[in-house]
């Protein structure tokens, strides 16, 4: 027994020794590998050339052969390419052959470039150790760049400033360099000059990434912690999760658990992201990759969540997770009532790859059955509408958008009631008070536009909290303002009064007391529920008047006079009158052309069929589509 025991011990020891050595070697390998990884993102304003420069980096590192190159390879939705903005972020891995003889792994994480997606940006930033700050040399720094830059600085990212488009005649290299130096306190010689178009400076950038951005720090031996920074829906594979490994190792067939949802899945496949997905048996701390678990709905994936191993359920989460909440709500209705189920299908499909879209059925007297949808912001709403039309051939009627309000009743003033549709606003007599969301808004502009921008923001109930000159020719204005005010024609106005020389960014701030009313539109005394809007009392009259004037234009005359009114409760605050139609007759029927006349009348009748009846008034669908375009 002794001998046997001994021998077992000896074997065990040998085995253990061998294993430890292997693990040690493996660990050293991991650590070596980690030293060769660089994770970075690109911070840039729309149009500042991020996509083009990214393409050059991919080409230079031969990640993509030139012939495979579709311009701006990273934006893969048509809509994105057309609008020139990156809506959903992606990641791509490239290999850089450094002069020191080593091959480095670069994980470039793309970031969405619009104000509505700032949380997503923050998660992409959290997955990196460094950032390229890309600034258009002819335009200078824009508001959104600054807020993303500060976010990156807050996360201790190493910033590599890059002046892009330096080959352009209008490039102001000195001036924009001054702006950058003021902003991040770097040395002038640290700013790289580049042109995505001609390829100038691409090598300098690739080199600076190794030299300046630190390698990731993480413990491959610690339990798995991976940060989800994005996900995409693939109709064959289900939801594909993009993550950054902070600690530990993820292997194929690991049982993983998502910290916040608490759900567990089998890792069917893990791998790295090149132009296509490349499957790997495992990925280690410091790297960026994808995970496929067969999840079918993207709602189960929350950006910012932490992937851990199911066998270590007590592993900590990675800080910074937030539940993404819709900020703007609107009713979306099919133009034809029969298309309701199709619309539901389409929204479900959109939600598969856009978990931030929410919807639930609602109904309207005027529009029939539709959905109350929640969006991250106005751009997000626009994108959804456009995708419905483009990808699903669904043209829809969208009601007046509103933000999410909190109502408090007299009977229990501490209990918060969430209001995201005008119909839910309780009767004023029952209301204790209402609160509305405020945002922290930054506008960066030229000094000559300060006056008009301040008056615009003030008119939008904004409070100026700070005015900072970034340089002599660039000023940053910071406001606190109600989110509701940027829902209506804010962007367009900002753009026109500044002739395009103003950039805008915002972050949610808090909820504040508000004098909110429900504006109703009435036709001959009957409410048009689809046109009701939640609006601040001081804005109600202006909006009401605009809608009435527009409706007068859009409604066909009928056999009786139509009173178009805007009302708050019983009080009428605006009115237009549409006179009755009294004559509708074709005098002459040319040479026996009965067909033309019949077809005209058939069309007239067809149009009538598509009208919605509000009381005794017939309203064409076109009116619902057009009435809310109040800018023109």
């Amino acid at each position: 027994m002794q001998r046997y025991d001994y021998s077992v011990n000896l074997w065990m020891k040998l085995l253990l020794y061998f294993c430890f050595t292997c693990i040690e070697i493996q660990n050293i390998a991991y650590i070596c590998a980690m030293k060769l990884i660089r994770n970075f993102c690109v911070i840039a304003h729309i149009d500042h050339g991020k996509s083009t420069l990214s393409d050059r980096l991919l080409e230079y590192t031969q990640t993509i052969a030139e012939r495979d190159m579709q311009d701006q390879a990273l934006d893969d939705m048509d809509l994105e390419r057309e609008r020139g903005i990156t809506i959903k972020s992606h990641a791509i891995q490239m290999y850089y052959h450094h002069d020191d003889g080593q091959v480095y792994i670069y994980n470039m994480i793309d970031t969405p470039g619009h104000v509505d997606f700032s949380y997503e940006v923050s998660r992409s930033i959290a997955a990196c150790e460094g950032a390229l700050l890309l600034v258009d040399a002819s335009q200078g720094i824009q508001a959104q760049t600054i807020s993303n830059l500060f976010m990156a600085i807050d996360h201790n990212l190493e910033i590599i400033p890059v002046l892009n488009k330096v080959d352009m005649e209008s490039a102001m290299i000195e001036e924009v360099s001054d702006q950058i130096i003021d902003l991040i306190g770097c040395k002038r010689e640290e700013i790289l000059l580049a042109s995505g178009k001609t390829g100038i400076g691409v090598h300098d950038i690739l080199r600076a990434i190794v030299d300046r951005i630190p390698a990731p720090k993480g413990d491959p031996e610690a339990p798995l912690q991976a940060l989800i920074f994005d996900s995409v829906f693939n109709s064959f594979r289900g939801v594909i999760v993009y993550f950054r490994l902070i600690n530990g190792i993820i292997r194929k067939n690991d049982k993983v658990r998502f910290f916040h949802t608490g759900k567990e899945y089998l890792a069917d496949e893990v791998g790295i992201l090149q132009l296509n997905m490349v499957e790997k048996p495992e990925l280690q701390a410091g790297n960026v990759g994808y995970l496929i678990t067969g999840i079918k709905v993207s709602k189960e994936i929350k950006v910012g969540d932490t992937v851990i191993l199911a066998k270590y359920p007590n592993t900590d989460e990675i800080k910074g997770f937030e539940e993404v909440k819709p900020m703007v709500f609107a009713g979306i209705y099919p133009i034809d009532n029969d298309d309701f189920e199709d619309l539901r299908d389409s929204l479900e499909k959109l939600q598969l790859n856009d978990a931030s879209l929410t919807f639930e059925p609602e109904s309207s007297v005027a529009l029939g059955f539709g959905f109350r949808c929640g969006f991250l912001g106005m751009l997000h709403l626009d994108i959804i509408q456009e995708r419905l039309s483009r990808e699903f051939n669904q043209d829809v009627i969208t009601t007046v958008p509103n933000v999410m309000y909190h109502a408090f009743l007299n009977k229990n003033p501490t209990e918060k009631i969430v209001i995201n549709t005008p119909n839910d606003l309780p009767d004023p007599t029952l209301l204790h008070h209402v609160e509305e969301p405020y945002i922290h808004a930054q506008v960066i502009t030229k000094p000559e536009y300060i006056g008009s921008i301040m008056s615009l923001c003030m008119d939008k109930r904004g409070i100026l909290t700070r005015q900072t000159y970034l340089t002599t020719s660039r000023v940053e204005l910071t406001f606190e303002m109600p989110l509701a005010e940027i829902v209506f024609d804010f962007y367009d106005k900002l753009k026109s009064i500044s002739r395009g020389y103003a950039s805008f960014d915002y972050q949610p701030l808090d909820y504040r007391k508000s004098d909110l009313v429900r504006l109703d539109i009435k036709l001959n005394g009957d409410n048009v529920d689809a046109l009701s809007a939640l609006v601040h009392r001081t804005k109600a009259e202006e909006l009401g008047r605009k809608i009435c004037v527009k409706l007068k234009d859009l409604l066909p005359r009928q056999q009786f006079l139509i009173a178009i009114q805007a009302a708050i409760g019983a009080k009428i605050i605006a009115r237009e009158t549409l006179s009755a139609m009294r004559k509708d007759v074709t005098a002459k029927c040319y040479g026996g052309d009965i067909s033309r006349k019949r077809k005209l009348l058939e069309k007239q009748k067809e149009g009538k069929k598509k009208m919605r009846q509000i009381g005794n008034v017939e309203v064409p669908q076109k009116a619902f589509l057009e009435v809310l375009k109040l800018n023109d």
């Binding site: 009294r582 509708d584 007759v585 074709t586 040479g591 026996g592 009965i594 009748k605």
Partner: protein, 377 residues
């Protein structure tokens, strides 16, 4: 072979100048007139040959300006018609004419060719109105063409008037109506100005050079026409048409009464053998197609629904009205639909019913299109 008995319409697509409100098909260059007349003659022959012993009840030269045809050209066309069709039963031969074309010799020639009835496009007797319309004639020609035609022996005259245009005051319009009544012409067409797309008038309005017709004035003048002409012994037998008893336009009324017709010439419409057809609205292409033996027309088949809709469309606006039995012939679902829908219109005073016959009241006529569409299936 199928038979034919009905009207013959000939479209003469030329005008001296373009009236600003007109969207009919015409050209102001006469370069192709000779070729076109030849093509018309050829089309008459081709069409007539589709039928066995086709017979005509009415012949109508419309346009455009048929009075731009020379007497020789008219003779050629009429000869061909007589050669190809049985014309023994013809009740009416009408030619649309412009006052500026009606010289004594031309009128005599028309009479000699067998034209019985003239429809004269006077429109107004006021010089400034005619200028505004861009008519080719002046007020002097407007004043003298009617007595001249009567002098030559044309009793069956019809006069076109327009109302509801910005320059026309009620006083000026009453003057026009009285003038026509004084001559005791048996037929008057009084059209409310319609702004048609792609006319110089609609373009002018878009540019702000012209005003839209005033609806109040148009309604007033429509009412005036009805009241004054009925006082003078005219019968309001179709929305825009008035006649002395028994003197209604046979050819045009047949459009409303569903009688078949053959249309000859560019943009002309036909209705026979359960189809509506229309020729291409382009002179050169029409000529080319006829010369090369191609069919210049497009057509549509008249389904039972179209038959019903057209019955409503054509009959409701006339004094003859719609008979329920005619609707029942098309199909029971149509008569059920009609019966259900028409109740509301009777209640509103839009439609009047006597026995099983329905027609628009005067009130209903003001929005005839609206109510017609309402009754469509």
């Amino acid at each position: 072979m199928i038979s034919f008995s009905g009207g013959l319409y000939l479209h003469i697509p030329f005008c001296k100048q373009a009236c600003h409100y007109c969207n009919f098909h015409f050209a102001t260059s006469l370069v192709y007139k000779e070729k076109l007349v030849k093509a018309l003659i050829k089309e008459i022959e081709i069409t007539a040959k589709k039928f066995s012993n086709p017979e005509l009840k009415t012949i109508y030269f419309g346009g455009g300006s048929p009075s731009l045809l020379t007497l020789d050209e008219l003779a050629l066309i009429l000869d061909k018609i007589c050669q190809q069709f049985n014309v023994d039963g013809v009740e009416e031969v009408t030619l649309e004419a412009n006052p500026d074309d009606l010289t004594r010799d031309y009128l005599k020639g028309l009479k000699a060719l067998g034209i019985q009835r003239l429809s004269i496009g006077i429109q107004s007797f006021h010089e400034e109105d005619l200028k505004w319309m861009n008519r080719a004639h002046d007020s002097h020609q407007a004043m003298y063409c009617v007595p001249l035609a009567q002098d030559i022996g044309f009793d069956a005259l019809s006069i076109d008037l327009i109302f509801g245009y910005p320059l026309l005051t009620d006083e000026k319009y009453i003057y026009n109506l009285n003038k026509v009544n004084k001559w005791q012409v048996p037929h008057i067409s009084a059209y409310s100005l319609t702004v048609e797309e792609k006319t110089p008038l609609s373009k002018g309005i878009k540019k702000g050079l012209d005003k839209l017709p005033d609806e109040d004035a148009a309604l007033r003048q429509f009412t005036m026409t009805h009241e004054i002409l009925e006082d003078y012994g005219y019968e309001h037998y179709e929305i825009s048409n008035y006649s002395k008893p028994g003197m209604h336009a046979i050819h045009n009324s047949n459009y409303w009464l569903g009688v078949p017709y053959i249309g000859i010439g560019p943009a002309a419409h036909s209705y026979y053998s359960g189809k509506r057809r229309w020729n291409i609205a382009n002179n050169q292409q029409y000529i080319r197609k006829i010369e090369s033996g191609e069919d210049p027309s497009e057509s549509e088949i008249i389904t039972s629904q179209i038959t019903y809709d057209e019955l409503i469309l054509t009959r409701l606006r006339t004094k003859w009205g719609v008979n329920l039995s005619d609707i029942e012939t098309i199909g029971a679902k149509y008569s059920a639909h009609f019966r259900e829908k028409v109740q509301e219109l009777i209640r509103k005073g839009i439609v009047q019913k006597s026995d099983e016959n329905y027609k628009l009241t005067f009130k209903g006529m003001l929005m005839a299109d609206h109510w017609t569409a309402e009754l469509f299936y």
